[in-house]
């Protein structure tokens, strides 16, 4: 299956600024996810998105975060007012041809490295 493409690959932003991370997971999937990995730590779940709605979010995904699928193909993660601790690799992922059955794995993008200064 086609890969998941994320843009930009690296984003540097000043604390307090808004950032939008983009993902193109192709249009005929229903399940999408955002994960992040702070340097040296494990990959952490942020939010899952099913049928154009948030289905689950973690404690990390507070009011500063939002997700959208604005045009049926792109999938975006917005951080309204970035903090230093938001610096991390952000990965977009999509489900598989069997919806969101973990047995068949999810496809991750190559990530966006967000650096908040």
């Amino acid at each position: 299956e086609p890969e998941v493409t994320q843009t930009p690959s690296h984003q540097v932003t000043q604390m307090g600024q808004e950032v939008i991370l983009r993902c193109v997971p192709i249009s005929n999937h229903l399940y999408f996810y955002w994960y992040r990995q702070i340097l040296g730590q494990k990959v952490e779940f942020l939010v899952s998105f099913y049928n154009n709605e948030i289905s689950e979010k973690s404690e990390i995904f507070d009011d500063q975060f939002s997700v959208e699928r604005p045009d049926g193909s792109n999938f975006t993660l917005k951080i309204r007012s970035t903090k230093l601790e938001d610096s991390a690799m952000y990965f977009c992922a999509r489900g598989n041809n069997r919806g969101a059955n973990p047995l068949y794995g999810y496809t991750f993008g190559s990530g966006t490295r967000l650096t908040v200064v």
Partner: protein
């Protein structure tokens, strides 16, 4: 909240030998277990998975073993190749559909030497 743990941060194995990566979990509600491989500057790549109703799944050089009573799983790579050098993440899920988020371990860096 360390529901999935990989206690070995690194492992070095000679080319051709067996690599064994271990993972422990605490939540008995996990139904599916996956292994992902990650190279620097890339996203995690799905390797192999196992359902909680099985104790072994094999795919080429990769075999995953699940011991539910011990809440332990392992990934065996035989024979190990230099291209296998990467960080390996164990992940677990409680179900399918909207319950399908993955909980990852901290990863084990595998170095396959010549």
């Amino acid at each position: 909240d360390q529901q999935v743990k990989q206690n070995s941060p690194s492992l070095s194995v000679q080319e051709g030998r067996i690599s064994i990566l271990n993972c422990d979990y605490t939540n008995s509600m996990f139904d599916y277990f996956l292994w992902y491989k990650k190279y620097p500057a890339e996203g995690p790549t799905f390797l192999i998975s196992i359902s909680s109703i099985k104790d072994k799944n094999e795919d080429g050089r990769f075999t995953v073993f699940l011991n539910k009573s011990a809440k332990h799983l392992s990934l065996h790579i035989v024979p190990s190749q230099p291209g296998d050098s990467a960080v390996y993440f164990c992940a677990a899920s409680m179900g399918v559909g909207t319950a399908s988020k993955l909980t990852f371990g901290t990863g084990t860096r595998l170095q396959v030497t010549l």
